[in-house]
Symmetry: C2
Subunit: 271 residues, 2 copies
Amino acid sequence: MPKPFALPVKKKVDLSAIDPSDTGGILSKEEILEETLKLKEELQELQEMLVAGKKQAVLFVFQGMDCSGKDGVIKHVFSGLNPQGISSYSFKTPTEEESQHDFLWRAHTKTPALGQITTFNRSYYEDVLITRVHDQITDKVAKRRFKHINHFEELLNDNHTLVVKIFLHISKEFQLKKLKSRIEDPTKNWKFDPSDLEERKSWKQYRKHYEEVMEKCSSVSPWYVVASDHRWYRDYAVLSIVVEAMRSLKLKEPEPNPELITFLEQITNEN
Amino acid sequence: MPKPFALPVKKKVDLSAIDPSDTGGILSKEEILEETLKLKEELQELQEMLVAGKKQAVLFVFQGMDCSGKDGVIKHVFSGLNPQGISSYSFKTPTEEESQHDFLWRAHTKTPALGQITTFNRSYYEDVLITRVHDQITDKVAKRRFKHINHFEELLNDNHTLVVKIFLHISKEFQLKKLKSRIEDPTKNWKFDPSDLEERKSWKQYRKHYEEVMEKCSSVSPWYVVASDHRWYRDYAVLSIVVEAMRSLKLKEPEPNPELITFLEQITNEN
């Protein structure tokens, strides 16, 4: 995996020091076209082994500001997989029922079964992000929640579920460009949500809270910061991270079962 | 859509009169290669409109004997779609909790939200198939269940959810060949389930009950019988049915919203 994406665990991150328009030394989309096809093919093979083995699971959590491309990158990286082995969830404002439970409850009901991949478009991390920006929870509660998140990810880990967290890092200018195009291009109007403009005003606060989250919630499973102002680079970087994560499972072809041979006799003699 | 797949509604089906090795006059895989690519591309576009519009949903139910290729066809037809717009469920023996509810309960929790496609690998139809073969329910109960199924599909229909049921039709010889290969090929051993041999003994009973199900449960949404002894034809036929079903929704590009222009001023003046 290209090194620039990997964020060292437990080290304070300074997001302003990471250029959202970075392309890791890659000059153009064409340069990574062949590699992308190879990685996609490998991902399909890795998924098949994951499904067949039913011994491990992977949860990919996507976070990022509005317009950072969470939808787009999930579509780009994971389409092509067998839909029977992947589930995708998008977390919105909690429903009334969801609000009456602890903040991890609704996410827990959606974690992958063994053999499965799950993607989260937003996640329980919103409960230590948007809630803090809007002063819905105190710093003390936030600190408790960081602990709960680490414990939760440890629980999943113990159940052979790898959790990988990806932050799509964009500039404020990039978001402006995207918001404008959602307004100006009639075919994109349906994607525009006026509340995005409100959240945009809290850009700095979000950044600060993201930095704290990454510092406090990296002990069990890693965070990756992906420079996302260039869509082609973002897609390639995330694909690389995803494939590398799947490789780390050291998946094997399913074991043969030599005892099955006795059944052969049974069906051969059936008539 | 090639006519041979479409089963007329409310007419008694004679499955023995349908050749499982039929290929609808198509001579080889090569003949439909280009058309397959076109259909897959169209399916992606249709899914995008479905997701954007959030006004309709589609449920594809797959049924068929063991080894008929339910897994394979779902993988073939639906991989390539945006995983955020499709969910796939495989129904196994009911859990203890599921058994304590009516037979439609667990399926109902998995039906698609508006904007979504869902595939069922087996379904509530098992509750009028395997249960009858093993005399777990009486004919009287089965008849009540046919009614409940029709009412259930009517409910989904009223909520703008199209239900399409596909029966993968194979010969007993084809199943034998597949079972043997699962035993003889070590890489396929993990797919072999000894209980399949037991079910195979009830081939005729299954066929009879399938015929009754298709007769009694076609009033609201259609059944399609797909000749499935040739994998390439099965995949092509199902893809055709799926695309045709999506076309029938008459999906449109999402509506532009001219009022959004007022927001443009807001962001342009933000600094």
